[in-house]
Symmetry: C2
Subunit: 441 residues, 2 copies
Amino acid sequence: MNHTIFALKGTIAYTPVPDKFVFAEESFLVCENEKVKGIWKELPDELKGIRVCDYTGKIIFPGMCDLHMHAPQYAFRGLGMNLENPDWDMWFEKYAFPDEKRYEDCEYAKKAYERLTDDLLKTTTTRCVMFGTLHRQSTEILMDLLEEKGIAAYVGKVNMDRNSIPGLLETTGESLEETKRWLSDCAEKKQYKKCRPMITPRYIPTCTDELLSGLGELAVEKGIPVQSHLSEGLDEMEWVRKLKPEISFYGEGYDRYHMFGDAVPTVMAHCVYSSEEEIALMKKREKLIVAHCPQSNISSSGGIAPVKRYLAEGIRVGLGSDMAGSNTLSLLRAITDAIHVSKARWAFTERGNDPHAKKNVLSLAEAFYLATHGGEGLWDSVGSFEEGYSFDAVVLDDSRIRDYCERSSYERTERLILMSDDRDIEAKFIDGRMVYQRADG
Amino acid sequence: MNHTIFALKGTIAYTPVPDKFVFAEESFLVCENEKVKGIWKELPDELKGIRVCDYTGKIIFPGMCDLHMHAPQYAFRGLGMNLENPDWDMWFEKYAFPDEKRYEDCEYAKKAYERLTDDLLKTTTTRCVMFGTLHRQSTEILMDLLEEKGIAAYVGKVNMDRNSIPGLLETTGESLEETKRWLSDCAEKKQYKKCRPMITPRYIPTCTDELLSGLGELAVEKGIPVQSHLSEGLDEMEWVRKLKPEISFYGEGYDRYHMFGDAVPTVMAHCVYSSEEEIALMKKREKLIVAHCPQSNISSSGGIAPVKRYLAEGIRVGLGSDMAGSNTLSLLRAITDAIHVSKARWAFTERGNDPHAKKNVLSLAEAFYLATHGGEGLWDSVGSFEEGYSFDAVVLDDSRIRDYCERSSYERTERLILMSDDRDIEAKFIDGRMVYQRADG
C-alpha cells in the first residue's frame, strides 16, 4: 500500500464512549493509510499541504454498522408487515421464501443485489453483517458487488436442511459441502479484501443437529464468525422447544456447537424474549454480539428487546435494520426507533404510573454509539474518530432541513438523525476510500 | 360556482368502512362540482368526453386529515426529542415557547408559515387542524397562506393567560378580546372559504377558569369548534390535579365550559393516560374527537394511547402528526407509527406471554381509515371516494420504490404507506381543485 494522507474538513460528531457526544466544529479529520490519524482545529505544520476535501458547513459522522440484514429481502421490503394471524408463517410462505428462491437465478441475483448495494452507498452504513440465501453462487455475486463498491461486510451463505419450501432446501450433506466450497472460493478464488464469509445457520427450526454440528466445526476450525437468530418471537420459541425438548433455552441450541460466542464472534439477532438463563449465558459468552432490530421487532410482534438491561449486564449490543423485517436500510432510522421503543418498554415495565420515575431509556448518544460501534466485535477499532480507528466517515448535508436559527452541533446532529434521508448523504468513506459522492456534490 | 366535471384515471384505493380496503384498478374517479360523483372502470356514455387527468400506473388515495399539529413548531422540528429528565418543561422552555414567541414578528411568521404550507402540499394531507400561536396577526397570516394554497384547515389562535414565558402571555381580558377580534376578522374582513377558526385553549395549565369560561361561551354562542390537549403525560396530569383539585379528572376541566364535545365539535389531542371516568365521559360526548399522535406520545414519554379500546367503545378517533412533538408532517408515517405502537401496547398488556393470543392491534386498513376519515366530525363526508364526498385526492407514484414482481394493489398501497416520501407525491386535489403537481409531473 502506498502511503496516503488527506483530511476532511467539516463539523465532526462522534461518541468515543457511550452516552457522550464529542463535537469538533469546522475541524480537520485526517486519514493516514486507511486509519484515523486525528482531529485538528488547524492543521499542524507537518500536515500543512495535504489534500483537504472541504465540507465546511456539513456534518461528519463515523460510519455505522448494520449488524443484521437479509440482503435478498431488500427487493420486497415494505410488504407483508400487516398480515393477519398467524402472520409469521404467512410472511415466510408468501414473501421471504419465494423471494429468496429467486436467487437461484444468478441474473436475478445480479440485478437485485446491484440495486441493494447501490442504495446502501446512499446511507450512513459503512459495514454490514448480511444473510444471503442458501445459493452459493448468488452469495458470491453479492460479495463481488460489495467488494467492488468498497463496502465492508460479513456475508453468509444461508444453511437450511429442514422446514423450508421445496426448492429452497438442502440436504445436510449438500448444505455442508456447499458451505465448504463457498469458504474455499472466498479464501482462494475470490481473495476478497473487504468482504468476509460468515457461517449462517438460518435458525434452529431450519437446521438439524447434524447440520449445526458440522457448521460449528467449520466455524471453529477456520475461525469464521457466526450469525443467526435468537428468541425473536414467542411462537418461534415455542416451536424451538418442540423441536428440541432437550435444551432448556433457545441459545443452548447454538452453544452446544460453539456458535454462541465462546469460540468465534457471533451475532445473535433480536434477543427480544431471552429468558434469565439465556441472558446469563449471553453474559458469559464474550464474543457474542446482540443485533438489536427495533423496527422489525415492534412490527412483527410488538416486541421490544431489553437493550438497557443488556448494556447494564455488559453484553455487547449493536443495531440492525433487519431488512426486510423493517422497510429501510437507514441506521439513522434504527437509532430513532431504538430510542422510541426503549421509552415504550420503560413506560410499560419499570415506570408504571410514577410520573417521577427516573428515565431508564436510551439517550441519543447511547443509540448513536450502538449504531457506530456495533461492529467492534467483528472488526478492530471501528465506529469512532480516535487515532487508529478505521477511517469510515459519512458526510451529511443538513441544508435541506435547517431552520432560521443558529443551532448547536448537538441539535444539528439530532435533526440529521431524525429527519435526513438519502438525499442528504453528501459523501462516504470506508477505510479511507471514497465510495460514494452525491451526484451534485 | 360553474358546473365542473373531470376525472382522474389510476388505481384507486380507499376504505369506505374501517378495516377494509376497496381497490378499483385503473379506473376513473369522477369529480363533479367539488364532490366525488363515482368510480367507473370505463366511463359511461353520459361522461364520455369529460377531461381526464391520466395517472395510469399511479395510485390514488383519499386525502388525509391531520387532526393535531402546531404550525409554529414546524421550524424547529427534529429538535429536543432527547432531553434529560424533566424533559417536558425543558422542551417548552428551550424550544416550544421561545420559538412560538418569534411569531410576534409578522415577517418571521410569513417566512416560516410559507415554508410549512409549501411543504404541506407535498404530503397526503388535504385537511388539517392546527394550533397557531397566541398572536392574532400571525394566525391570520397562516390562514391567508392556507387559503391561498387551497388547503382546508381549522386554525386556532392559541389562548394562554398563565404559566408561559414573558412575552408569550396574555391577560385574561386581552386573550378574550383578541380572540373576539380574530373571529370577527375571519368572518368579515377575511371571508375565508377553506380555512375556519377554532377556539384553542392551549391546555388547562395555561388557562385560568375565567379564560376557559369565556372561551366556552364564545364557542357555543358562535358554534365554533374547539381543540386542546388531554391526558398526554403523567407529569402534566399531576400538575392539572394540583392546579384544579376540584375536578376529578382532566377532561372535566374542559367539560365544565362546554369544550368537551357536548355543544361543538372538539378535538382532544393525545388521550394517552385517560382514566376510566374520563373515558366514560368521552363516550358520552358525541362531538368529541380523539387526535391520536403515536410518534409524539412514544417519543415524549413512551406513552401509547389505547386506540383499539377507544374504537371498541365507539369513540371517534383520527390521527395527528403533533408537529413538532413528531418530526414529520407525513400521515403515512403516522399510519405506520400507529400500527407499530398498537402492537407494542397489545404485547405489553393483553398478550402477556401467550404466543397464541389473538392480535388486538390496528390493521393497515384500520389505520388508513383513521388517517382519511379523521376529519369527519369537523367536515361533512371527507376521507372516502363514495358519491357525495369532498373530492380530496392524492396521486402517488410508486415507481421509485417498486421491485421486480407484479404486486397487488394492496401490496402497492402497503409499500407506499411504509416507504414513500414527498418525492412520490405526484398531484393533490382538495375539493376538486388541483393544489399541487410535482415539478416533473
